[in-house]
Every structure is written in structure tokens, then in C-alpha cells.
Amino acid sequence: MIRVVLPVPLRALAHVDGELALEVAAPATQRAVLDAVEARYPTLRGTIRDQLTQRRRPFVRFFACERDLSHEPPDAPLPDVVATGAEPFLIVGAMAGG
């Protein structure tokens, strides 16, 4: 079970509180996690990554284990502690806009 933390605006959009807990088939990657998020919450399609290009939106960031994973390839394996649920995968609205 992978734990995912959404930014507050997307929690409101998806009508969820707190962390998500999602089953993701191995190997756990960014793409697999986002596929699972969007499958469970279709209203989030297009809000984290572009629906056509599948690229991360410019002002969205992915953090885990006190690291910024935003620029990692989408098919790179996530850290083991994220894959096992020991640490959450954080989807963050970047500080932007002043």
C-alpha cells in the first residue's frame, strides 16, 4: 500500500481528507502512482499532469524521503520506503506566484 499526500486544493476537489492509501503494482514508479491516483479519483485527471502529454504540470512537485523527485523519470522506481508505505509520496503545489 502506497501512501499519497495531496495538496489541499486537490483534496477539496477529490473530496478526500488526509492521506490516500493506494494499491500499486510493482515496480512502484511515479507513473504507476499517478495512474492509481487518477483511476481512484478521475476528477484529478489533468490537475497533476497534462492529460495529453502526461508531463507533470509546471507548478506541481513530487517529494519523498526529504528529496525532490520532480525531475526523476516517470518510470524510475520510487524509494523502497515509499513502495512499502513507510514514507508517503507527497504531491505539492510549488511555491509560486509571490
Binding site: 495538496p7 486544493p9 476528477t43 490537475t47 507548478f59 506566484g97
Partner: protein, 371 residues
Amino acid sequence: MSGVRLLVGTRKGAFVLTADGKRRRWDISGPHFAGWEVYHMKGSPADLGRLYASQTSGWFGQVIQRSNDGGKTWEAVGNKFAYDGVPGTHQWYDGSQHPWEFKRVWHLEPSLTDPDTVYAGVEDAALFRSTDGGQTWQELPGLRGAKGHLWQPGAGGMCLHTILLDPANPGRIFTAISAAGAFRSDDAGQTWRPVTCGLKSRYELPDPNAEVGHCVHRIAMHPSRPNVLFMQKHWDVMRSDDAGEQWQEISGDLPSDFGFPIAVHAHEPDTVYVVPIKSDSEHYPPEAKLRVYRSRKGGHEWEPLTGGLPQQDCYVNVLRDAMDVDSLDPCGVYFGTTGGQVYGSADGGDSWSAIVRDLPSVVSVEVQTLA
């Protein structure tokens, strides 16, 4: 019992303002979609409970919301806006060609007859249509065929902000695009051509015969007379009596002919409202006095309407989609400001009062007259 519902989009959420037919006491609900920019909300003329809203964010992109109960509850519907085929390119600031890229929905225009059919005007400029209540969207690509490769974004973005459906001719649609111009389709959106003859934009376009590139801010029509159009251009207030074939300037004695919104009285097709703004670089009222100007003669002669509006130290703007009328008698007129005020007049503009003063910056105001 009659009533009025105002759909107010702001930089930080949506608000729904309702009153009975006297329009004295208002109930304010919101913010809906708190923290998100709501560029536009509009109700279906065929079903007063059916509303559509454009919810957008620089972080999280575009969401389309739909309500079936007049804005009490909402559900997110489809937000996939894919340009038809290979999107192609338009002109960029440096003269090069730039790919079309979807950014947001500026305007939603529900069909006059079918609550599940709705048009969306988007940035980068294009027209989309949904026939399933907003679940899926298809582009009407013929519009970008109207010299789209020559369109170039203005400072506010290359946005399609005006969609007018002709109630007398189901095949006829007008659209307007900032820094591109006005366009008309006579075949339900399949093919389009610019309708800009008579527009002069000599400070923006050196070619006096340019078909595209005019910065149209807003077009309004009265439903009883759809061939007569009123336009607030970047500079100049214009009128066409032949569905856009030819335009004449009607700025007349306005203190400034720069502005954004334009609206037509519900029962008097030649009574027109504008809100003059000082200039394209100073987006606030001339002399810091917030004045709506009304012409009862279809233009040329304008009177300032000031009762209840601030007449000193006022530096707000009124954006293109932020003015509308109800169809009660007497006609109500409403507008919202970048300072967060929504003003209303229940007597055709003779007197005004602030319905609410401290909303986030107002982007759009649409009115539903409730039976």
C-alpha cells in the same frame, strides 16, 4: 415569485448572489471552489438549475464544474480540451510561429435550447463544444482556419472570451478573441470568417484593412434584434446593424472609449451600457470616478450614471465578462469590479448600490432571471 441569481466568478472562488424580484436584500453563498480562479459561470437558458463553471489554477490547471440545482451542489465534469488534429501554430511575439497550447477556459456559453450542449471559449483561442453536459469536449476547428496562423496573443493572453448564439438563426454564432478580432459562423460553427470591416486599430495595426488582429474586448446583442451588435473594442465603442458585416464607431461623447464590458438593456434594444476606463495603460475610471455610461439611442450620445457609485478615489476596473442585465421590469443592471464590489441597479442604471463590497477581485458576473 420572481427573483434574480447572480453568478459571480472571482480570482479566489465563485459566489452565488440571490434576491427576490425587489432586488433589495441579497443572500450570498460561497466561496465555491475556494482558492481557485473562476473565470466564468453561466446558466442554461433551457434549464435554470443547470450551471457551468470554469475553475482554473496556475498550479492545477482546468476543471469544469456543473450544477443541476442552481449552484447549491456541483460536480466536476470533463476537462480534456484537445485541439482537433495537429494543432498547428499561431504567431508569436517575435514573429515566429508558436504551437497552440491549451491554458484555460475563459467563457462558457450554454445552448439556448439544450441544457447538455455548451460551448467553451479557451486560451489559446479556440472554440469547443460539449453535447453531453460537459463530460467530453470537441473543438470546432474551422474557427482557427480563419487566419489563425496570423493571430497573436495580447497582454491578457490569446483568449476566446465572447460567444453569442443567434436566437433567430440556430446556425449563426459570433465569437470574439482578444488581439485577433470578431468572427462569425453561419453553419453552426463549421466554417468561420472575420467580421471586422470598419474596425480601426491604427495604434495596434498599421494596415487599415487588416481582417484580423483587432483587439475586441466584448460584443453584446439584444435577443430580439440579433443582427445589431454592440462592441467594446480595446479603444472605440462600435455598432454593426448587419451582423458584423460593417461596423461604425458610436463612442460619441464618452469620456474615454477604452473599456471592457458592454451590455444591452433587456427591454430597450437601443439602450446600451459601458464602463469607460481611462486608458490601456491605466486600467481605472477617468477622474477616479466610477461611472456607467448609458446610451438610449444606440450610441453616440451617452449619459453618466453615478448614483450610488464612488465618485472619488476609485481605481478599480470592470472586466469584460463582469457586467450583465436581468429581464425583470424595470431592468436590473449588475457589474463586478477588480476591487471585489458587485454593484446592482434595479432601475435600469439610475441608482446603484453595492450588493457586496469585499469579494476577491471579480472576473465575471452573469445574471439569471428566475420565474
